[in-house]
C-alpha cells in the first residue's frame, strides 16, 4: 500500500521485454493494448479468465445513499458496475509464500483430527497385526508348556494334582511289570493293562488325560495301583514307579457298565483315602461316587 514498493511502468515493461525476449517498446505497446482490451471487455460486463492468474469480473451495484466523507452531506451514489479480481490459487500461493508454513490454530482442539491422517491408520493396523502375531505366538508357547507340566484345572471341586516326590528311597526303583491280579477288577482289563513309568512332574490327572483320554478318569488309575502306592494319598505319587493303566472295555466317551463300575470304585476309594488323611475334598468324591452307583 505504500508508494515505495511501486514499480514504474517503464521498468515493468523492461522486465516483461527481457522475459519475453522482445524489445522494450514492443512490450510497452503490448501492455497498453492489453490494458485497453481488458478495459473494453470489462465495460461490456464480461468476465476475463487468465490461466493460473485470476479472474476479472464485474458486478452491478444499485443506486444507494451515502455520505460525503469530507462534508458529511448526504449523497446519492448512482447505480454502477464494479470490477472485481479473484486471484487463483497459483497466484495466492506465490504471494503467500513467506507465510506458507503457518497453519490455522483451532481454539478448541479437535480430538478426532488424527482420523484424517493416513499415517495414523497405517500405524494402528500395524499395531493390531503385531498384537495378533504376538497372541498366536503366546498361545502356541502356552500350549506346548501345558503339555509337559500341569493341565489347567477344569473345575475346582474335582481338580486334583498329584505331586511327585523326588525321594528315591520310598519310590520302588524296580518296575513291576507283572502285577498281581486284583481280585475285584475284571480280568480282561488287567490283561490289557499297560504300564507307565512316572517321571518327575507327572500327575495322575495328566496321565489319565493322555492315556485314557479323559482326566476325570484318574481315580481309576489310582484304584488300580493303590496296593503299590505306599503313601495312601491320592495327591502324591512317587517318581520312578510304574503305574498300570487299566484297559477299558468301552471308551471314556462311551463307557460300558464295567467301566462305570471301575470309575465308581475309584472315586469311592479316593474319597475314603481323602477322608483318612483329612482332606475336605472327600465329600465331593463321595457325592460323585454315590451318584454313579445309583445310576
Amino acid at each position: 500500500m505504500s508508494d515505495d514498493n511501486k514499480i514504474a511502468l517503464h521498468s515493468f515493461a523492461a522486465l516483461v521485454a527481457r522475459r519475453a525476449k522482445v524489445s522494450s517498446v514492443e512490450a510497452d505497446a503490448y501492455i497498453h493494448q492489453f490494458a485497453k482490451t481488458m478495459g473494453e471487455e470489462l465495460e461490456t460486463g464480461g468476465d476475463i479468465h487468465l490461466y493460473r492468474f485470476g479472474r476479472f469480473h464485474t458486478t452491478h451495484v444499485d443506486e444507494q445513499t451515502g455520505h460525503d466523507p469530507n462534508s458529511g452531506a448526504p449523497l446519492t451514489i448512482p447505480e454502477h458496475s464494479r470490477v472485481h479480481f479473484h486471484p487463483y490459487s497459483a497466484l495466492r500461493f506465490a504471494v503467500n509464500a513467506p507465510f506458507r508454513q503457518l497453519r490455522i490454530k483451532e481454539l478448541t482442539p479437535d480430538k478426532t483430527e488424527w482420523r484424517t491422517r493416513t499415517g495414523a491408520w497405517i500405524l494402528l493396523v500395524l499395531l493390531v497385526l503385531l498384537l495378533i502375531v504376538l497372541g498366536i505366538r503366546a498361545k502356541n508357547w502356552i500350549s506346548t508348556q501345558d503339555a509337559s507340566v500341569v493341565p489347567p484345572e477344569m473345575s475346582s471341586d474335582k481338580a486334583v494334582v498329584a505331586h511327585t516326590d523326588q525321594t528315591p528311597d520310598t519310590g520302588a526303583p524296580a518296575t513291576v511289570p507283572a502285577a498281581p491280579v486284583e481280585p475285584e477288577t475284571t480280568p480282561m482289563a488287567i490283561a490289557a493293562a499297560t504300564g507307565v513309568i512316572v517321571s518327575p512332574g507327572d500327575t495322575l490327572w495328566a496321565i489319565a488325560a493322555t492315556r485314557l483320554g479323559d482326566p476325570y478318569w484318574w481315580p481309576v488309575i489310582y484304584a488300580e495301583n493303590r496296593p503299590e502306592l505306599s503313601r495312601r494319598n491320592p495327591d502324591l505319587i512317587d517318581s520312578g514307579i510304574t503305574l498300570r493303566i487299566p484297559a477299558l472295555a468301552g471308551s471314556v466317551n462311551s463307557p460300558n457298565v464295567a467301566d462305570l463300575r471301575l470309575k465308581t470304585n475309584g472315586y469311592q476309594m479316593v474319597a475314603d483315602d481323602y477322608r483318612k488323611i483329612g482332606n475336605p475334598r472327600a465329600a465331593e468324591y463321595e457325592k460323585v461316587a454315590a451318584r454313579w452307583s445309583k445310576e
Binding site: M1, E26, T37, V83, L91
Partner: protein
Amino acid sequence: MDQSELIEKVAKELGISNTLSQRLLRATLREIRDLLRVGHAVTIPHLGTFDTATYEEHRGYRPASHNFAIFPKRRVPVFRTGTLLREDVYDIESEEGAPT
C-alpha cells in the same frame, strides 16, 4: 473472455502473431506474479494496480469446523481498479468524481 480470445484480440489490434502475443501475455502475468511475490506493486495504466495486502494474525469463525480459530498472518494479492477504468465501467461523468 478466455485467455485465448484475449490473445487473439490483442494480436489483431497490434498486428503481431498470436504466438508472440501469447508469449508477451505469459511474460506479463508471470512478471506481475514474481513482483507480487517479492512484495512490489504493479500499476498498469487504464486498468489498475496489482498489490499485496498483509493480514495480521486474527481470530475468526471457521465454517469447516463450526468454531472460532486463530488465522495466521497471511499475504494476499489485491487488485485496485484504476480511475480511468472506473470512470468507464461506472459510466459516470468524470467531474462528479468516481465513487469509492
